[in-house]
């Protein structure tokens, strides 16, 4: 089962430590987290299901945000990091 790790800002809404998930895709992993932590809803994805513009999801260290996104399969994955991207001003 992969473990999810949120960055410090997102921990306000979700798990504070590493969290095991059973999901088979990034979309289902977010569903699973949102079911456990309702305040995460709409923080990682918007209402259309798309990853928010400045959210990055890494599966085993690879950034999938701009490639397979929420459809990324998690079979065999060990770690997922959800971070906010470097942006601002």
């Amino acid at each position: 089962m992969p473990e999810v790790h949120l960055d410090s800002w997102l921990r306000e809404f979700g798990p504070r430590g590493k969290e095991k998930v059973t999901a088979d895709s990034v979309a289902h992993m977010i569903d699973e987290l949102e079911a456990r932590y309702p305040r995460l809803r709409f923080k990682i994805r918007d209402e259309s299901g798309r990853l928010r513009q400045y959210v990055r999801v890494f599966v085993d260290g690879e950034d999938v945000s701009g490639t397979t996104g929420v459809a990324t399969p998690l079979a065999g994955a060990r770690s997922i990091d959800i971070l906010h991207s470097i942006a601002g001003g």
Binding site: K43, I44, A71
Partner: protein, 377 residues
Amino acid sequence: MAKDRKLRILVGSRKGTYIIEGDARRKQWKVGPVAHAGSEIYHVVADPRHPGDLYAAVNNTFWGPAIQRSRDWGKTWKEIATPLTPNAKARKAEVAAAVGSPPKWAINNLWHIEPGLPSESNTLYLGADPHLLFRTTDLGASWEPIESINNHPDKKNWSPGAGGACLHTILLDPRDARRLYVGLSAVGTFRSEDGGETWKPTNKGVEAPFLPNKFPETGQCVHDVAADTADPDTFYRQDHGGMYVSHDRMETWKRIGKPLGDDFGFTVASPPSSPGKAYFVRLGGMARTTDEGYFQVHEWNDKTRKWRKLVSPKAFLGHFGVHREGIATDSLDPPGIYVGTTTGQLFISPDAGKTWQLIPFDFPGIHSVSIANPMAK
């Protein structure tokens, strides 16, 4: 419970929410700590029906929009329900069908929160981008999309303004809870006589200088509208195409800004204690700042149909920008006028524009200013 006699200025900025406390004398001010640090706050408003309740439209670059409520005059805040768009109900199926197909619209930013009338003590309205209106009847525990606007048959022809596809103005007729007005950029104003079931465009007489047809039914870029509290049929409008007044529930508009030359701007307010007066901040249409080189507020007197400048040109030099929620008035007599700028100055006049002071604090760029008035004795 003792009556709270404080007057509070509620500031929404590019980097958080500020509450500035004073009293009815409007001489001494205390700037409180920032809340929602780092988020863009498009609007903060007090709910006069529930003293102490404040609502903030919090737009975070990373985590998206959220509505936050305080029940203690801004000392603490808590996120309340975010409205679901119609698409969100089908989100799981959409995600399962997976991505690759372009996503449909979601809420981009929250723009304006309007408490309902005193007779509807748990009702609030919310305006959002893209061109969305929501209503709650349980103080924000749940939100109902107003589909007659959100899926308006003409919506495919609606364009965003420079700030986005914002529904930024919501006005309620104090005599009749079923009569509502909304303003959207760059679409114009609409009136509903049946509690939001149906809407009529109300832009007759308003010029759209950026369109081939200069006087279309919709397509005007309304920037802000204020109601005259003494005469709920009268409205003052700052449009992309100038400054206007309507005396017939927005059926027709007359341009009043031409004597000012370039009558561009974003914001207008009308004070409850001075019927027939409206305050505009004229900006240069190209620079979108006070391009004459100094801070200025223009007063429109609807009885004499004359303009008056309220600030000495020598008082505050500079090119200031003011956003659509950037001006507010209080309910005292004479009215206080409060103007926040895009460069973070907060100007205050405690006496209807006779004298002005600058709060000695540089805020982040200010999006919105509103007032929580002192409770009645």
